[in-house]
Symmetry: C2
Subunit: 477 residues, 2 copies
């Protein structure tokens, strides 16, 4: 394509790119203001704006609120993906630690910059639409809010969830949906349905610490399975483990692993379900990030390939709609009755008002538009945090490239201990998650998890720069 | 006192009493209408109303909506209290059954008369005040409803609960309160904090089946302790059990036991806490009915006597405010950190909107007025159900006389199997709870639990008559 056919804004982009290449604009410096550029190139301000936003999407420029556009500190050097050695293959009990509470407590504090907890910013959540939906519930069902809404939960909400599951490749009936008090209760119910204390389960390594806490609460032993940064659980390795150990259940986060962001390819999902069906082993899949894909299509669930009812799918509205509503669900497959029974020993039932309000919201066309916006926002934020980390962290730092969600898995140079980094970060008013929390055997001591749930502001950018300084100092000690 | 000094309405009562005594008014027949009586005795309608309400309180008359007042079918024969033999003293695991799900499913069905589930009628709950409080929350804190409200929960709500606990004889700080998703989660958190799977705990016999489910979920063994229908757990028996078994925790419902309605005397509470302190054994007390006393004063918590932080008190707003809100709490004593840790593996946090709305409601003066009305309503309903059971059930039926709450424990003649009665009742569209669900060893097979959560209507009265017929038929088989 010759420049003659290019849209005007791309010509502006070319000018900026060449200014960076020949050094007129140095890394980290401020780009010319919109007004100045518009005058120099004799194009409209909106054309320059479009060019700058485009360069921002490409990770070349970077907007700072109230300050204008800046050149990213490292542009061409797309950071490497993290890598880690295979975990030991022995089943182990789990003893979690208090460090998590510090991270959550920090998330509750106003002046703390929380990069540690996987919490979406309230401004990304549909607060107004939810408040509106809740008011409608109060008007239409004033008595329903005080009444119990017995397990398996509000029929209308189960119907809407079953309908949405179609997009993930599964046909389930409302009777196959059990509403829970958030995603973690879904996990506990699923796990309790298929295991007894003392049983061995197989998990990805690294994996979400919440799953490890659930395993600990149930009194299980866990074998860590090697996991690829791009494709998730290594199925050859799982197959070998199943031959050697009496595995009672397998736990996976196939769609945008927390912490690695990996996406298990469809073929692997089919193979995994098939493998477990041969051995009659239940599969618990955590799909909490499944709706937050950056690509064209919603990745399918493992459940899509489930012919024997052995797959239990857990999810929630916490990352898409309202963390504070505590509404999740489990698709329990053939373990429906067992899930129902355990539920009555835990929270018994989920709050009525939150179920009614979410059903009201899902019914409105608003919800899909919201999800579309949210996916773009998470993708943008995740890319921005990646770029800031690449710009500020020591050489040798590797960063995951998630295909969905808003979580980054950062591998630091070997000499950096992430617990120590966590302590120093907390003192600086910034939370992060040390990597060893994602492993039974306390691996990943030079890894951290960062969450991109908040829009990139000057404050977030500075916090990442501070983390970078802490890492540099730890290296130079 | 001579009749001359009696208030006018008492003279009307005397007339009615003498009409019953000399047979002019037969048992079960309709009393003269308010208007007719007012004309006959030349007193105002409001005086007759007062007299009739008084006679109703004494269990002599009985109001049927839209039909007027009726003479109770059996007045003088105050039913005997139930009695049961001491349970076996061997620790046993628990295997709960599906029958409970049937009871809860029935409670969800519109045309079912639910005497089985301990659910307050929505009309007794402060639905309008709660809806108002929720609207205020939506207006004042629209963003707070989507945000997580991290454990141990909303500070303001913890402050209000700590303040209310003063009435039960305990001074606790807001930091000593942990908000949960309903009362059952409080129980699970408390139990998980003080036991490991395989441990032995001591429980009252009979006791609330929810506690048995929690014990089963945790994988514990339970020893049943003899329990008095009036004073609750037999402490001599407990002391002996502690000598013989390695008891890791004791579970009690000291204030208005579910199912027996017993109230542990204050001296027994002091002795119980003292006994356990000597052995360093934690005590879990379930106080969910504590605010629903029929007497003058709020009975104290066992926690009142706790010097070592060994008492964990569990409660919720489910019986007083809104079952469907799922807001409970635990006062974890010295086990605060352990409760916090387990919470993060279960529901993580409780919904924000329900915490905010209940805090708003508690702050208003309305709440205490509501509780006063509610106590009177529960007392009245409980007495009415007692009287209906006494009137309709076979001779030899014994009925508890609770001092609070809204639950009745009914002992049927030995030959009646309550599981069979449950089946027949369900076929007739009425639920009840078979007695063996309240025991590890499936005792109490000729007992049922009936709940008086609904105002006495013609429908409830007829349902109890139907249960009576079923019982009679089973005896005559």
């Amino acid at each position: 394509m010759t420049t003659a056919h290019k849209p005007l804004y791309e010509k502006v982009s070319d000018v900026v790119n060449s200014m960076i290449e020949d050094g007129r604009l140095s890394r980290g410096s401020k780009a010319p203001s919109l007004r100045k550029m518009s005058q120099q190139l004799k194009v409209s301000i909106s054309t320059v704006t479009k060019a700058y936003m485009n360069l921002e999407d490409q990770g070349i420029l970077h907007a700072k609120p109230q300050s204008g556009y800046f050149v990213q500190k490292c542009i061409k050097t797309e950071p490497d993906m993290p890598r880690w050695p295979a975990p030991a293959k022995t089943p182990k009990p789990i003893h979690s630690e208090k460090v998590l509470e510090g991270i959550f407590a920090a998330a509750n504090q106003e002046n703390f910059l929380s990069l540690g907890a996987a919490i979406p910013s309230a401004e990304l959540m549909p607060s107004k639409a939810l408040a509106r939906a809740t008011r409608q519930v109060l008007t239409r069902h004033p008595e329903d809010i005080v009444n119990y809404c017995f397990s398996p939960g509000l029929v209308e909400l189960r119907r809407l969830i079953a309908y949405r599951t179609l997009e993930a490749g599964c046909q389930v009936s409302p009777d196959d949906v059990h509403i829970t008090s958030g995603g973690m209760e879904a996990v506990i119910l699923a796990l309790s349905a298929v295991t007894q204390p003392g049983d061995i389960v197989a998990i990805e390594s690294p994996t979400y610490f919440g799953l490890l806490q659930a395993i600990e609460h149930r009194g299980l032993l866990a074998v860590e399975i090697e996991t690829d940064p791009v494709t998730g659980m290594n199925l050859d390795c799982l197959e070998e483990t199943i031959r050697n150990e009496n595995i009672k259940a397998v736990l996976t986060v196939p769609n945008f692993s927390n912490p690695t962001g990996s996406l298990m390819p469809e073929a692997n999902k089919a193979r995994l379900v098939d493998l477990l069906a041969q051995h009659n082993i239940p599969l618990m899949e955590d799909d909490i990030m499944g709706d937050l894909y950056f690509g064209e299509n919603r990745p399918p669930l493992c459940k899509k390939f489930d012919k024997k009812g052995l797959v239990l799918t857990c999810s929630s509205f916490s990352k898409t709609t309202a963390p504070g509503f505590r509404v999740g669900w489990v698709l329990p497959g053939r373990f429906k009755e067992s899930v129902l029974k355990t539920a009555s020993a835990l929270t018994q039932v989920t709050a009525s008002i939150t179920q009614l309000a979410i059903a009201e919201l899902l019914r409105s066309g608003y919800y899909d538009r919201h999800l579309n916006r949210l996916r773009r926002a998470y993708q943008h934020q995740t890319e921005q945090v990646r770029m800031e980390v690449a710009a500020h962290f020591p050489e040798g730092t590797r960063i995951s490239r998630p295909k969905g969600g808003f979580i980054l898995w950062v591998q630091l140079p070997q000499r950096i201990n992430s617990r120590e980094m966590y302590q120093q970060a907390m003192e600086a008013g910034i939370s992060l998650t040390p990597g060893d929390l994602f492993s039974v055997s306390r691996k990943y001591q030079n890894f951290i998890r960062l969450c991109a749930g908040y829009p990139m502001t000057e404050q977030v950018s500075q916090a990442i720069a501070t983390l970078g300084r802490i890492a540099h100092n730890m290296l130079n000690k």
